[in-house]
Amino acid sequence: MDSITQIVKAVDNANEEAIDRLIELAYERLHTSAKKALGQSGHASTLQATELVNELYLFFKQRDEFKYNDSAHFFATAAIKLRQILLDRYRKNSAKKRDFGEKVDTVQMHNLAVDPPMMETLVVNGYIDQIEKIDPVTARIVDLLIFWEFSFAEVAEILGVGERTVYRKWKWAITWLSTRT
């Protein structure tokens, strides 16, 4: 497979096949990270992750005609949609939890006791949107590193900034986030 950087370059040269490749690649990556984003590991979350990624896919499918200026544009679009999907899901989950009423049993209590994963906190509180207002580039960096699990080098390539910049901004973002949560 081509390296991400090669694909990204091709995409930026408006090569449509390259966008297909990018989506393929994104799909694989997203599938892994979606599993984590759903706060579970192992086999159980695979299905949910698949559903999530499929939902994202539907979103793209409905935008068949939509053209992406470049790979950064593509990832930004995907990330925003992904956050929406996750947010809906987290909200539904918590709604479900509140719905228990008297039927709560020990098994369920055990589940409730666990702190929500940071990813959930991040999405539910709209922290990335807040970062977006302060510095859009940082928001993109957070998206790409957290949701897509790209490396610093890859993120730098996609966004067309230096690797060191990515590192600094990322560092700021996680520190800023840790003072909020």
Partner: protein, 865 residues
Amino acid sequence: MSEAEEISLAKKTQAIFEQALDLPHEERNAFVKTQCGENAEVLAQVNLLLENEESGTKFLKNLYGNENDEGFSLLGQTIDVYRLTEKLGRGGMAEVYLAQRTDGVYENNVAIKVIQSFGHNKTLIARFYRERKILANLKHPNIAQLLDGGSTENGLPYFVMEHVEGERLDTYCKQHKLPIKARLALFLKICSAVTFAHSNLVIHRDLKPANILVDKNGEPKLLDFGIAKLLDQEKEEDVTVTELAMTPHYASPEQLRGEVLTTASDVFSLGVVLYELLTEVRPNRYVFPSPLGYQSETTKTSIPSPSKAVLESKLSKVSAKSHSNILRGDLDTIVLQLLRPEPERRYASVQALTDDIERYLANLPIRARKDSLWYRADRFIRRNAAMIAVVSIALVTLIVSVGYQQNRVIQERDMAIQERNKFKQTQDFLIDLFKNSEPGEARGNTITAREILDKGVQEIQSSLDQQPQTKSELLMTMGNVYQELGLYDVALPLLEQALEIRQSSKLFNPIDVAKGHSELAWSLMETGDYQSAETHLYQAMSLMTSALGEESNEIGTVYHYMGSVQYRIGRFDLAKTYFEKALAITLAGSGPKNESLAAIYGNLGNVYSNLGQLDKEIEYLNKSRMIEQEILGDNHPDIAITYSNLSSAYYRAGDIDKAILYEKKSLAINLKSLSEEHPNTAINYSGLGSLYLEKREMALSMEYHQKSISINKKNFGDDNPYLAFDYLNMSEWYKTDKDYEKALEFSQMALEVINKNNLQEHPITAFAYGGQGSSYDGLGEYALAEKNLLKGLEVFKAIDIADVSISNLYMSLGLVYEHTERYADALLNYEIAYDTRQTMLPEGHFETKEAADKVAQLKQQLKVK
């Protein structure tokens, strides 16, 4: 602090924090102090961040929650009589435990699947019970058997299955280094299980090696019908993509697209499984259909054949080579047929696949067909919807006897984007068709395109009754191809049949039916049956409007067709309305350069021509031509049409030489890319006939006109509307030759054709009366001449369009009055003709000058009197 202030503060701190990061720890404090200066707030924030630098890392650790958390566990508990002894894993929304009966009734271990969710998720519970019901009915040696089921104390549904102790199919084959024949034998057993499930109306939908275990006796067992679906008993809302719990790598393209699934989807997944069994590599396919392309998946980059793929496997070079040799040929063919993106091109059933593998094992010829290299033989099939037809308007210039047949050519290449997917399937069919018609394979010598097509129709008619969708689509495509070749008599019954299939089968939605109507309408229009065409288009419109509203891409095509029909009936304002609707939809829906857009521009140009707006006509025609040349190259029939129309525009602008030039350009392309007998070629001939008449090259003109007549008769029969134009041109020719008897005869023939075709609303009717009138004038029958010319004017006024041709009627009438010495009346008519031409023709046009001369002459005459 307001939000804006907070953001501004955060921006400042971010900048300083980032710079500080690049410094060694000991220098940071000083740097931050200098940077923040008096701003205590920023200073405090930056320091807070720097102090917490490490906690960022902690934050990351908790990003995804505790990754080792396995959720709740029922391990060690007893459900009913089963004690859960071991956790086997999680499958889908459920957890799977190994369990033993505590009452000793059943010795063997069982697997217990307990739904993991919180008990209020109705969909999941429904799914769970459904699964139980399905599995209880599925008793097959190669399917893990359902034994029991119920709910836990907490209300969690569970069921008990035969526990299969074994290895995953792929691991088993690898570890035992099974030879290919043994792998095929295992695979056949899996096939028999799937066939059994299919015959019980169950689709597995998640076939993959992880769901197939091979037990210690070497028997494969199919697990996890967790997402199986009862084929025709599914009463709940359709399972959508998002609900689908599938494994993308093994999922069929239609599954990835979220379409309704059939057994063909399992056939595809079996293909992936077989591919892996035979090659030990995964087929390199896009598992994510592109949101941008139409079918990027597996169609754009074809899957390498197993015999090639195995060379990339981890097998040693020698054994990979020998594997490859075994796979090459039949096994390659079988596997690739399984993996075709279009469901209907795969094996029709798992049974058919089983048969083929068995034939292979028995050294019999297999039934699967190779995809051929004719893939690129797309000359014929490049475009689906045909185009091109002919309508001509005779510009009967009654006095100067210019009978230029104004070529009105309507272009069409629907090919709306949404059609392309379906087109792909039909394209594949045609590819097969070409492949099977290869010389040598067919009968050892060259065969014509027509023979290939005829053979294709035979094949469609004889073999596709089980697949009405494909059949209808192919019939339509073939109909369009014949139509494009000008073979309307063959095209019509095919399109009628395509529509009938759509109307009678429930497999089609209203849009499909509407498309059946509109394609048939186009062909009907081509043959001159405008009434039926219009009726079918109204039906298409109402179907589409109720299904999709008034602005869908699909309806854009119908508007376009309707515009064409109205245009040919002669209702130009209505035609303009429809073309403009189509234009708006096309401009909004697709990019700036596509064939539909070029066609609509061209048609609008034609409409403007008839509405007498010459400048707009040339503008639109050139817009059309530029798009066409860019996307089609210089030698495409569509460009020929536009050239022909431009020729007509230049003629009316008074530039005969330029008109001849463009008409000849058009003819050259048509002779090269269509044929001598194509309707479009007839248009060229008729145009040249009229242009050479203008030049008074009488013999040449006659030759061209006769060619046009014979082609039109041959293509459309003796009563077709195009002949009306031809006959009027002939009438003009004879008038110019001063043979008024003949001229009258031809104009009467024209009127007959007009009446037979119900073209009374078309300007040609006015021209025909005009032609008759001026013929009578030539014969000295002035009363009849006046009567016919007035009738012509009446028709023209009833149509109510601004066409400069009306001036020709006034001129002819003026001439009749002159001949009968009614000079005042003559002058009045000449003056009206002059005014009309002065306003509507370009400055200095010879016709305007001619009218002016007549006016001057009559004034002189009246003065003399």
